[in-house]
């Protein structure tokens, strides 16, 4: 996921905020449309992320030299 894309929780918080503001009905119509469009994009983004993600598992191992390194876990499970 690109760095420019908002983090999941930020995107979700933004979405919740947009819904609340829209539900209050205080936004001018023009801004309502912008908020709605943004919200729908966020929904798409969030749904996609929820669907796409594969879990990444790493191990923090101590080398012989005593240094700690991160290694992807070679998965013996399934």
């Amino acid at each position: 996921m690109a760095d420019a894309a908002p983090r999941f929780e930020e995107a979700l918080a933004e979405l919740e905020g947009l819904v609340q503001r829209l539900e209050k009905g205080e936004l001018p119509l023009e801004e309502s449309l912008v908020a709605f469009e943004r919200g729908v994009n966020l929904v798409r983004l969030l749904t996609q992320r929820l669907a796409d993600v594969e879990q990444r598992v790493e191990v923090l191992l101590k080398t012989e030299a005593g240094k700690l390194i991160r290694r992807p876990l070679e998965d013996e499970e399934q």
Binding site: E23, L29, F36, L50, Q55, E58, L60, L68
Partner: protein, 448 residues
Amino acid sequence: MLRAGRAPRVLSVTELALMLRSALETGVGTVWVGGEISNLKRPASGHLYFTLKDKQTQLAAVMFRSAAQVLVFQPTDGMDVVVRARADVYPARGSLQLYVEAMEPRGLGALTLAYEQLKAKLLAEGLFADERKRPLPRWPRAVGIVTALHGAAIHDIRTVLRRRWPAATVVVRPVRVQGRGAASEIAAGIADLNRLADVDVLIVGRGGGSLEDLWAFNEEVVAQAIAASTVPVVSAVGHEVDITIADFVADARAPTPTAAASLVVPDAAEVADGVARADAALRRALARRVSTARERLVALDRRLGDPARRVRDLTLRVDELGSRAHRAVARRLAWDGRELAALGARLERAGPIARLASARGQLEAAAGRLRFAAAMRVRHTRAALERTAAQLDALSPLACLERGYAIVRRGDAAGAVVTDAAVLRPGDAVALVFARSRARARVEDTEG
């Protein structure tokens, strides 16, 4: 007193001491002995020096560091203990001493005692305080796990994390979770993940086991590592009902590794539901917003009204205003006209023409009065004449006729006036003369 003869063998002090030592070794050997600890000293060397006593007797005792450091509990003065020890003479001082190899608290087990001791100590230090507990992150991007690499615990945790929230990266720091050195490894693992892995939350734990199996999680080094962690820690030790020291210190406690995994990450299915609900709410809200806007538009349109009618209304209004203006001007002009006329009149009255006219008027008035006076005189004269005539008239016989008398004439109206009936015969014709008319009559009879 020395006797003569075979001289007794004289021992050196050292010899005797060694003999005693040997006698103790063979005669007493290693024994288990129970007593109360008193006068406990713990110098920097790490050895423990104390007196083991009962009601009657006391014996000096030492427990070397190698033995003392594996004690899970802290011996204290007054503690009733059972020790495994051998009795020996300390040659330098020639004193009898117990060399303690192992120690158990009497009554409860050593582990139980150690547990209670550490719990009391850490409680006093405030490590269990609620205000120390940090909230778990709602959306952890990376979850650190300190546990055995191959075991039920790691499997369970990974399964749950993958199912609930695959977005979180998992960083495992493999450690031994039981046996000697396990506690230090666990503590080091917690510190390593804090230092290196950039994780948002830690799970520290293992599957279930006996009190001995879980012991590492009751050791102070682990408790202190958890307390020192900058990342919130969830403890997940076993399926047992017992609560470990680690559980008390941790920011959250889960009864099993599975439960710990559920605790640290949200459920993607629930989040997806939430997103779907937000989506629906978004659409509803927009639809509502558009429809309110439309309603307002309609309302405003209605208020705006038909422009043609508006023009008619305005025309009427303009006409009305126009006529009012006209009337106002006309009134004003009329007023001015009257003013002008009045002024003119006043001017005329004040000018020479006016004076001439006034003089003429006076003249005419005077002439008028003269004429009037003359006329009045004539009328008076005539009235007097008429009055005289009337008086004259009243004296005439005709005036009697006016009052109802009639004149009887013989024959016709030209005949002689009859003043006595004796001149008349029945059957004579007479004329009755009234004031303004006459009648013809015949005499029927006469008397007198």
